[in-house]
């Protein structure tokens, strides 16, 4: 039945993920509009539901402009290299308990979370290809900055994930969900905070969205792209956002489990509710905060998130050794330590300044 599994997954991923991403794009535009005291798109279809469809049609009928002096082949392949990893992340998220109707269909990769971290590092190559194929000095600068940002924030992200892996004792996502008698967001609040901030930076979203800032001069590595290729970059960003929300829901919120085991055991729906929750918080932050400067961004990653994530690992490792299986009452010392650390460290760490003597 492996063929069935494979076919099911190819069909689901190729078909359902873009539709889901478009639904989330609609949600973002309406949600952002509501945050900004305006309705958001409401012309194309009832409540603007057909707006992403209209955007897709518009983008497909646009002229595809390719810079003459750039490398055409590289320019063509770059959006694919950026988009594919975003889709690949969805192949390992468990949506239901194995058994019953979906027996044999739920993914259970041994190295689940490591696979996700590895696959999401592939899109950096795509960013470089896009910048190179555009033959534009500012695209190059922007790609370097984007890479520096992604690489710097990958480390606290991976360390926060490592804390979850230590607590669960397995890298398989199904195993992690099943090990969450108490969701890890409660047991490891510091890990969740670090993961969330690092994920926001990985996704290039406000407050770390320097790449898309019109107020910055360098206009992003996808400046020379038009039409469907640009849409692929845009879709990749949203697909990756939904993917990270799904990962956060699986790692920290308990995946397909109903809260406290009560309620209908429809795994997929609980997962979708949790993904929506995380996505709404990411959206909320986008509509609220200004963005940081690039040197403040790097300073924040290396001087604030990185040491905190190391301390988090030490604490989780010590607790896993002393009380294997992490009993639920560890949430109290963990929360206390998280509060103290965050307050003390943010008191010591100050962003800002940075004038150079000219």
């Amino acid at each position: 039945m492996d063929w069935l599994h494979w076919l099911f997954y190819v069909g689901v991923i190729l078909g359902a993920v873009p539709v889901m991403v478009m639904a989330f794009i609609w949600l973002e535009r309406r949600g952002l509009g509501r945050l900004q005291l305006r309705p958001g798109p409401n012309r194309a279809g009832p409540f603007g539901i057909l707006q992403p469809v209209a955007d897709a049609i518009k983008v497909l009928t646009k002229e595809d402009i390719v810079p003459v002096a750039g490398d055409h082949w590289v320019h063509f392949v770059a959006p694919l290299v950026v988009f594919a990893p975003a889709m690949l992340v969805f192949t390992v998220i468990p949506f239901q308990e194995d058994g019953g109707l979906v027996r044999g269909l739920v993914p259970d990769l041994n190295i689940g979370i490591l696979y996700i971290v590895a696959v999401s590092s592939i899109s950096t190559i795509g960013v470089f290809m896009a910048a190179w194929g555009s033959n534009n000095k500012y695209s190059l600068i922007s790609a370097f900055r984007s890479m520096a940002q992604v690489v710097s924030y990958e480390i606290p992200l991976a360390l926060a994930i490592l804390g979850v892996v230590l607590a669960a004792g397995t890298m398989s996502l199904t195993g992690i969900v099943q090990a969450q008698a108490v969701p890890f967001i409660v047991m490891q609040p510091l890990g969740f905070i670090i993961f969330f901030i690092a994920a926001t930076a990985e996704l290039n979203r406000t407050p770390f969205d320097l790449m898309e800032a019109e107020s910055e001069m360098v206009a992003g590595y996808h400046i020379e792209y038009s039409g469907m290729k640009f849409a692929l970059f845009y879709l990749a960003e949203y697909a990756y956002t939904v993917g990270i929300s799904a990962i956060a829901a699986t790692l920290f919120l308990g995946g397909w489990k109903a809260p406290w085991g009560v309620g209908p055991q429809v795994g997929v729906l609980w997962l979708v509710v949790k993904i929506l929750l995380v996505f709404m918080v990411i959206l909320w932050i986008r509509g609220t905060f200004p963005r940081v400067r690039v040197d403040q961004l790097m300073g924040f990653a290396w001087k604030f998130l990185f040491p905190l994530s190391l301390i988090n690992i030490f604490i989780i490792a010590a607790e896993s050794l002393a009380w294997p299986g992490l009993p639920w009452w560890l949430l109290f010392p963990n929360t206390a330590i998280a509060l103290v650390l965050v307050v003390v460290w943010s008191g010591l760490f100050r962003l800002g300044g940075g004038r150079v003597q000219v």
Partner: protein, 165 residues
């Protein structure tokens, strides 16, 4: 022919072709991209052998870090559009390369390898971790030495690009 053999031959062909493309293609950036493709092929070979952890780490480290670094260095170089400069020594180099290939293949094929049929334990990661951190025959010391070497590299990099006051 079972699936594993087919997968091995496809991946091996991909690896050899990309490796040849790296040295033969004049456009340096595309050569770098083919190197990344070669890394993918190696990861695939790891996975056919059942070493899933190694395959994922190969992608994470080689493609996500070393490949990126390589492409970064290529993009920062000027005059890359002119392609690789010609090399007068290409004939002796290819002859030497072919001789090396022959020697390595001959020695590989004529060695009796121990543990040729040992099965990869599933899950492989736990077995890997256990053997590395085993207190008797483990590899903790080389791991720590490697970590120290990496620390020296990071400090050296910071010193090199630090602002001259």
């Amino acid at each position: 022919m079972d699936l594993q053999a087919v997968a091995f031959y496809v991946l091996a062909a991909m690896l050899v072709v990309s490796a040849l493309a790296v040295v033969l293609i004049p456009n340096v950036f595309r050569a770098g991209l083919f190197l990344v493709l070669a890394f993918f092929a190696v990861a695939g070979l790891f996975i056919t052998l059942g070493a899933d952890f190694l395959g994922a780490v190969q992608i994470l480290v080689y493609v996500g870090a070393i490949g990126v670094l390589l492409l970064l260095a290529i993009m920062l170089t000027r005059d890359v559009h002119h392609g690789s400069p010609g090399n007068r020594l290409w004939l002796p180099a290819s002859v030497l390369g072919a001789l090396l290939l022959g020697a390595v293949s001959w020695s590989l094929l004529n060695t009796t390898w121990a543990d040729k049929a040992a099965e990869m334990p599933v899950p492989a990661t736990a077995a890997l971790g256990a053997s590395v951190f085993d207190l008797q025959n483990g590899f903790i010391l080389p791991l720590e030495i490697g970590a120290l070497a990496l620390l020296a590299v990071v400090i050296g990099a910071i010193v090199l690009v630090g602002e001259k006051k």
